[in-house]
């Protein structure tokens, strides 16, 4: 049987249409296993969220259609602007620090240093831990009375700041935790970018008498520009989604000072049982994120052309 088919196929071996799979149906069957969960757990919720945002909606289901009233409520509530600002504030703190630190680590690892793989692993290791683990560890590292961070500051003669309860410091504490946690990811992407830069460019520059800074400025930085754009993009969007660290480490406090947009949505929906309003908040926030993504895309695109 098998050989028969083989022989027939070989004999008929069509030159131009070798795969003969030009059927929509068959191709779509291959997409189905992915498309079914994708439709149910992604496309439907996206649509459903828009629908829910137009209603008063509780855990028991729809109560009544209210049109744009939820959106009006959002824009009339000063909390919204405050929490939106908190989310942006975190982007402003976290994105530049994690990118600069990641670049420095990548530049170090890219050199011929001792124990290179082990050191690279040390930088990357925190990234594989869950937000609960990293938050637990740092919750106690930042402990005002017994924490090692303050013990170290004590040795240096500094005071004992209350990292997690001082409004001025708490965002720095969360930034430090997040940088430590995620910088390995940034480093790995920069490393991949650095390895794409042809070594002879450096050789040529050296022969022309370019110093280390000039080589960094004129070869490394332009060579990394595409990776840099992707990184900034990732970090801005990723930082806007801050939730776990503040939920576990500060509970949004002290006061309301570390409440972010995602936590606002979570509290509105799940603590206050206002699903409709929370859906509207999600949509507004999502539109803001998409706008930021589009602006970044436009800005970085124009520089290329």
């Amino acid at each position: 049987m098998e050989t028969q088919i083989t022989a027939r196929k070989a004999a008929a071996a069509p030159r131009r249409e070798p795969l003969r799979l030009r059927t929509e149906f068959r191709a779509i069957m291959y997409l189905m296993p992915f498309l079914i969960p994708f439709a149910v757990f992604y496309l439907w919720p996206v649509y459903r969220g828009i629908w829910m945002s137009l209603h008063v909606w509780g855990i028991r289901g729809m109560e009544k259609y209210v049109g744009a009233a939820n959106y009006e409520k959002i824009f009339n509530n000063p909390d919204f602007y405050l929490y939106l600002w908190h989310s942006f504030y975190f982007v402003l703190l976290c994105t530049p620090t994690v990118i600069v630190l990641g670049l420095i680590l990548a530049l170090i690892i890219n050199q011929r240093i001792l124990f290179r793989t082990a050191i690279r692993s040390a930088f990357f290791l925190p990234y594989v831990l869950s937000v609960s683990v990293i938050s637990f560890i740092w919750l106690h590292l930042f402990d005002a009375k017994n924490g090692p961070v303050n013990a170290l500051l004590g040795l240096l003669g500094a005071g004992h700041p209350n990292w997690l309860t001082d409004r001025g410091l708490v965002w720095w504490a969360i930034t430090i935790v997040t940088d430590w946690w995620t910088v390995g990811f940034v480093m790995v992407l920069f490393l991949a970018g650095l390895q794409e830069i042809p070594p002879d460019h450096y050789e040529a520059a050296k022969i022309d008498g370019a110093g280390a800074w000039q080589r960094f400025r004129h070869i490394t930085m332009p060579g990394l520009s595409s990776v840099m754009k992707i990184q900034i993009f990732y970090q801005v969007i990723g930082s806007l989604k801050l939730f776990g660290q503040v939920q576990i480490m500060t509970g949004g406090g002290p006061g309301d000072s570390t409440n972010t947009m995602i936590r606002y949505i979570y509290v509105t929906g799940f603590k206050k049982d206002m699903f409709g309003l929370a859906s509207a908040q999600s949509i507004v926030f999502c539109v803001i994120m998409l706008m930021i993504a589009a602006i970044q895309f436009k800005l970085t695109d124009r520089k290329d052309g």
């Binding site: 757990f41 992604y42 919720p45 869950s130 609960s132 590292l141 790995v188 992707i230």
Partner: protein, 270 residues
């Protein structure tokens, strides 16, 4: 350039990075109720023991959560990678007319993050009676399009001649995927798989919302429940954190080449 200076700086930085993890381990091994504060606490290794681990395991459901994390992680990863690979095969090797349309539809999944659809996702899961069920975590975990995009790139590299040869040998399209494309993209699948496993293992917000009873929780969402339990000492909390952290650290150390490859693939090409 002073290479020794660079070496020292790198080593010091690396130590600084692992310090929090070493601290976690040290505190977790100290007798219950003792702290690690002064320098002498660091060098006093006299009473180190694993009692805190035994106590956490006995008094909480942490082993159950670990098991759930493993089951959910493995199922999500295996199913997601296979489904992504099938879709990637269609996009890469089957020239169907609506390909562009479907590709844009699926890639649009990268635009809107899960965080933005939490409320309707919860409502959907509620209607499907999935709340407090491990499938509430697994099924939405299958919708990540990144695997399709990455695997498609690798399948594009499978030469057409191979497929033609296999077809002449009697393979239908399913066989082309299973016998030709799957083995040839194995290393990319492993990288994507490890990436998915870590995402699943560390997934926090959605499991935190969708699972309500203690026995169905996963590690990342279960750990924070210790915070509301005031009787837990620092030593016990660090032992619990270590139980959650050690499996991923072991996986990382064993498979770091693939993990680093997977991460750089997802960033540079995605």
């Amino acid at each position: 350039m002073k290479r020794w200076l660079l070496n020292i700086a790198a080593a010091l930085l690396a130590l600084l990075f692992v310090f929090p993890l070493v601290w976690m381990l040290l505190v977790s091994l100290k007798p219950d109720g003792t702290t690690v504060y002064s320098l002498s606490d660091w060098v006093d290794w006299s009473g180190l023991n694993a009692d805190n681990y035994a106590k956490v395991i006995r008094d909480s459901q942490i082993l159950r959560w670990t098991w759930n994390s493993v089951v959910i992680g493995v199922l999500t990863t295996v199913i997601a990678v296979l489904f992504s690979s099938l879709a990637a095969f269609a996009f890469s090797k089957l020239p169907f007319r609506t390909r562009g349309l479907f590709f844009v539809l699926i890639a649009s999944g990268l635009l809107i993050p899960t965080e933005a659809i939490l409320i309707p996702l919860y409502e959907t899961a509620l209607h499907l009676k999935l709340i407090d069920n491990i499938w509430a975590i697994i099924l939405p975990g299958l919708t990540n399009p990144i695997g399709i995009l990455l695997l498609k790139q690798f399948m594009d590299g499978v030469p057409r001649d191979y497929l033609e040869a296999a077809q002449i040998d009697g393979s239908r399209s399913f066989g082309l995927w299973w016998r030709v494309c799957l083995p040839l993209t194995r290393s990319a699948m492993i990288s994507v798989g490890i990436f998915y496993f870590i995402l699943s293992w560390n997934n926090f917000l959605w499991p935190y919302l969708s699972i309500t009873s203690a026995e169905n929780m996963i590690l990342s969402a279960g750990l924070p429940t210790f915070l509301s339990n005031n009787t837990m000492s620092l030593n016990l909390i660090m032992a619990a954190s270590a139980i959650a952290a050690i499996p991923t650290i072991i996986v990382f150390v064993l498979l770091q080449r693939h993990i680093v490859q997977g991460v750089s693939m997802s960033g540079v090409k995605g």
